[in-house]
């Protein structure tokens, strides 16, 4: 049963969780595009993954960690809001593609397992 409960599947599903969290955060930024003084947030999890990999030395279990950080997009507008709509939309599109590609990989692995069970 290595293919069902192995490291790759666990990592893939953790990355999907991360992408879902990032989508939530980016949606929050878009909802607050006209809120005075609002500072956009983002999720940094790719860096956490690299760090975790280095710490694990390749052998141990790797944990995907997500951090929500405040990240101004650019200079503040007159109302103190620092959300840039175009940048947030680009991030959102990127994150959706990222999420779907992780899911596609999971799906493919499940399909491999399925064809192994069926034997045809």
């Amino acid at each position: 049963m290595q293919i069902v409960f192995d490291e790759t599947n666990r990592l893939l599903s953790e990355m999907v969780q991360g992408a879902k969290l990032r989508h939530q955060i980016l949606s929050g930024n878009l909802a607050n595009v006209d809120t005075p003084g609002y500072e956009p947030k983002d999720v940094s999890f790719a860096a956490a993954l690299t760090q975790a990999r280095q710490a694990a030395g390749g052998g141990g279990t790797v944990q995907v960690q997500t951090n929500v950080v405040s990240e101004p997009d650019g200079p503040a507008r007159q109302d103190g809001n620092t959300v840039q709509l175009d940048r947030q939309m680009a991030k959102l599109a990127q994150n959706t593609l990222w999420h779907n590609s992780m899911l596609q990989m999971l799906s493919t692995r499940m399909a491999i397992l399925k064809s192994a069970i069926k034997g045809s």
């Binding site: 949606s27 909802a31 947030k41 999420h99």
Partner: protein, 141 residues
Amino acid sequence: MDEVSALDISASGLVAQRLRLNVVAENLANAETTRTADGGPYRRKVAIFGSDGGESFGQTLGAAQADAVRVLGVEESDEPARMVHQPGHPDANAEGYVMLPNINPVLEMVDLLGATRAYEANITALQAAKSMAMKALEIGR
């Protein structure tokens, strides 16, 4: 369910922007209203938005939470009314000036465009959340 709260957050953005559109429409419709229930001309209204951050349940638990947007209220602008010389107008004062609402149609149209774009951005985020959830349902199919 992350998708559900992502949908809720986008919905809060839609609600806020739609309210802003309603306020703009009200302002434009009343650009020449000289009599109101409070007496005097109509006053320009502005929707005030606030972020729903701070003391949310998720943050108390240590998990970082995305912020929905909240409409804090609709307030009246305190800009002075426009004084237009129209001696024949029934609401003109002794010098022949009429107090017209403090509404600048150009400003309202710009606000209208901003609200429309922000509404569309929230729709896009909502559709992305929906497609992500649908994609997740297809695993193993």
